[in-house]
């Protein structure tokens, strides 16, 4: 088995940017992604999408076509429908595809695993028919499916407005927005406005304003300052959404989407033992990275949303910055002017980020839900049990897992992890970093004992 110069994990903008540049400069690169093609979250299905659907998804979606074409031309080896289920700090990556399991090795790893939506534990969030808003958008991008019947989009963040606007463009009108942002958010975000007017900030603000204008013009109902949200089944397959806004509301719906922003998908990084930091501004853990986007492990670089949510352009540029750092370590010459120009471009795209983070910060009570709410969807552990266990001395997420099984199910704590950390910090009066995160052990994806046995018998 010969070693790759680099294995890039994740073929979203960050992985595409990184793998393209590495391969163009002559490095031997393997890019893997568990989805069937390149694009990641924003450009999902870009190579196969029918024209009518691309028109609904908009110009930021279409922008991916050029980057994906560049990737295809770069000479990087591409492996789709391929999961990285175990990764080791020495550069060994265990893969799984239709042909079974295999092992590859690389001198450098570029982790570009992207983000996931922040879990939104509230009463009724586990009912069938309730999904994330990103999930609904995936159905639109991937399958061309648009929910039929009254739909409520509940939460806060750019994706709420983007998906709502895409629904409108697709002709869906029976749509209601239930905004969970607090009324003070606007004022609190104001100090970040000056910076947001620099670099590419104004373009982001204009895009946001455009989406809001589109919703307003269409006369979409928006409930603001929604609190005490709960969902119940209504008997004949529908859902009832209750909340306190300007008065008490009770809406009958056929489908509900929830969204409170996106957070880095750090599962793979935690399994590697990368050092993690807490961002109070982003309300999320992210890996520690240096200027070259190298993690606390010397051979592991992290680009894109996996390192901190910055959006598609930042992800693409970070992929290139990490690629240039890796190329230098491999002994290639990299033009320092190109490095500094790419760094500057990244900063310009981050100008509006502090404003966006503050504007769409989830309301604190959504992070530490009431006792009756299920925090761990896999093992059905409720917040009340977690609180009781913490009060009785559980030190943090890993002990909660041992005591209550939360985080032990098939999702491996991807969904309950943030809630466990928040409840620990709140109840034990410690910082989020002290509260810590769930330790992750491979396999990162379900792998059967039979598959592992088959692998063992093939290897010398």
């Amino acid at each position: 088995m010969s070693r790759w110069d680099a294995i890039v994990i994740g073929a979203g903008p960050a992985g595409i940017g990184g793998a393209s540049l590495l391969a163009e400069r002559g490095a031997r690169v393997l890019l893997v992604d568990e989805t069937p093609g390149p694009g990641g979250q924003i450009w999902r299905g870009i190579e196969t999408v029918p024209e009518s659907r691309a028109a609904i998804l908009g110009p930021d979606y279409r922008a991916g076509a050029a980057e994906v074409a560049r990737l295809r031309a770069s000479g990087a080896t591409l492996a789709f429908s391929t999961e990285a289920w175990r990764v080791e700090p020495d550069g060994t990556v265990w893969l799984r595809d239709a042909g079974g399991l295999r092992r590859e090795a690389a001198r450098h790893l570029l982790v570009a695993t992207g983000a996931m939506e922040r879990p939104v534990p509230l009463p009724g969030w586990t009912l069938p028919g309730v999904t994330t808003i990103g999930g609904l958008q995936i159905l639109l991008k991937r399958e061309g499916l648009l929910p039929r019947g009254p739909l409520a989009l509940v939460g806060t963040g750019p994706l709420v407005y983007l998906y709502a606007a895409q629904c409108l463009t697709a002709g869906k009108r029976d749509l209601v927005l239930v905004d969970t942002a607090r009324p003070g958010a606007m004022l609190a975000a104001l100090p970040h406005l000056p910076r947001a007017l620099l670099g590419h900030g104004p373009a982001y603000l204009a895009k946001g304003a455009g989406l809001l204008w589109q919703l307003r013009r269409a006369g979409i109902a928006v409930h603001t300052n929604a609190r005490q949200i709960g969902i119940e089944p209504d008997g004949d397959g529908g859902l009832v959404l209750r909340f306190l806004g300007r008065g008490r509301h009770r809406l009958r719906l056929s489908r509900i989407g929830l969204h409170e922003g996106v957070i880095p998908e750090t599962h793979l990084l935690r399994s590697l033992g990368c050092r993690m930091l807490w961002s109070a501004a982003a309300v999320a853990f992210h890996p520690a990275r240096d200027r070259d986007l190298c993690s606390s492990l010397g051979h592991v670089h992290v680009a894109g949303d996996a390192g901190g949510v910055g959006g598609a352009m930042v992800a693409l540029l970070e992929g290139r910055i990490a690629a240039m750092a890796i190329l230098e370590r491999l002994g290639h010459q990299v033009d320092p002017l190109l490095v500094s120009a790419t760094r500057r471009a990244r900063r310009a795209h981050l100008a509006a980020r502090p404003l966006i983070e503050r504007l769409y910060r989830p309301a604190p009570e959504l992070l530490t839900p009431p006792d009756e709410v299920v925090a761990c969807r896999c093992e059905e552990v409720r917040c009340g049990e977690i609180r009781a266990s913490l009060a009785a001395g559980a030190a943090g997420p890993n002990q909660l897992k041992a005591f209550l099984r939360c985080g032990m199910g098939p999702c491996q704590g991807r969904i309950c992890g943030p809630t466990l950390a928040q409840l620990t910090a709140r109840i034990r009066g410690v910082t989020m970093e002290e509260a810590g995160w769930l330790t992750v052990r491979p396999p990162l994806r379900p792998v059967s004992v039979g598959e592992i046995a088959a692998l063992a018998s093939e290897e010398p």
């Binding site: 009518s52 999904t131 061309g144 499916l145 032990m408 199910g409 098939p410 379900p446 059967s448």
Partner: protein, 104 residues
Amino acid sequence: MPFIRLDPPTPEAGPELFFEGRPLRFRPGETVAGALMAAGVTAFRETPVSGAARGPWCLMGACFDCLVSIDGQDNQRACMVAARAGMKVRRQIGARRDAAGAGK
């Protein structure tokens, strides 16, 4: 039907999979989750702990709430598996629960 398909209709002879023994037409490129949701299926499984009905939550492979049994193999993420003609999909009732998710 709880979803509208935006793309032009499938030709009559589109591929079929079987859900709980019932034939169900899908479009090439769809995942099992997409095919089931388009056909009006909301509950994909019952949890091993309380028997509560569950369906997809994240649709991107993170939450493992859309687990179904495919061709006799439990714990398949319906949102990540491409639909194939003739595939036999069943609701997962209970089934195993350890972190590795190792099937049989």
